[in-house]
């Protein structure tokens, strides 16, 4: 696996069209690896009748709500988890 729990990551700001499972509001956002969920056939291939193989690692990625929305109204501790495929993540080297 490329990532370990606790690693800082950033979601790629890719504009890849079609059936992608990465929501637009998380693209370009920084968070951390919460856990590895497992490996699954790539939905971006499955959706078009392909095998989706090889399977891709899927991670639970955590984000602070205040990093997602500038005007977030809630606690600074409020978080959001999303399940993101490894090929949508890059190591985050910034300081955010």
């Amino acid at each position: 696996m490329t990532f370990e729990p606790g690693d800082r990551v950033r979601v790629l700001p890719s504009e890849k069209p079609g059936h992608v499972r990465t929501p637009a509001y998380l693209k370009g956002k920084a968070g951390w690896i919460e856990s590895l969920i497992g490996e699954f056939p790539n939905p971006e291939e499955l959706a078009y009748g392909h095998s989706g193989l090889p399977e891709r690692p899927l991670y639970r990625v955590g984000f602070r709500q205040t990093d997602l929305w500038k005007d977030y109204r809630g606690l600074a501790e409020d978080c959001l988890y999303a399940d993101i495929y490894e090929h949508w993540l890059e190591p985050e080297r910034g300081t955010t």
């Binding site: 509001y25 969920i37 399940d83 495929y85």
Partner: protein
Amino acid sequence: MSDHPHEETGSGRTTSPYAARIRAIEALLLEKGVLTEPEVQDSISYMEARSPANGAKLVARAWVDPDFKEILLADGKAAAKELGMEPEHPAEFEVVENTPEIHNLIVCTLCSCYPRAILGRPPDWYKSFEYRSRAVREPRALMREFGFEPPEGVEVLVHDSTADVRYMVLPMRPPGTEGMNEEELATLVTRDSLVGAGVPRTSVRIG
């Protein structure tokens, strides 16, 4: 028939354009032999055999049996099988626990992913654009409109089920329910509380 305040969430109405489109697609799939009528009926029966009552049973058992709770949180499918449910579905099934520190809220911003193999079809509001966008953008304001506000200091954790995992919330057992048995406890567990949009009732509803 001109006043439909919930037009956006009304995709289940038999007269909606969505229903007409689905009927047309179904007719074509049958005509071309991709699906058969018995397969369609099987699929409908499968979905109708599942309901939030399954979720309520899992929750009530977890409230009275700490060992079961441990299984439910570690392996949701194994726990469901133990209670005679059939969660075989390609997706994973994960149960997240509300605690005095954390309140969980489930959404699928991309479509309407939901643990259908356990709970059946999601409520219409769960599929609405409004719920899907506001659950991630302003979860606290959204929950207030459902009539629930996490107590002060409680962290809100939103789970966007974007891929291969379906989530269900294990709500906290309401105070004052110590004398209730498992069946009575199950009646407290609302569908909304399994998504985190609310919390269980505090007393058994009569009738």
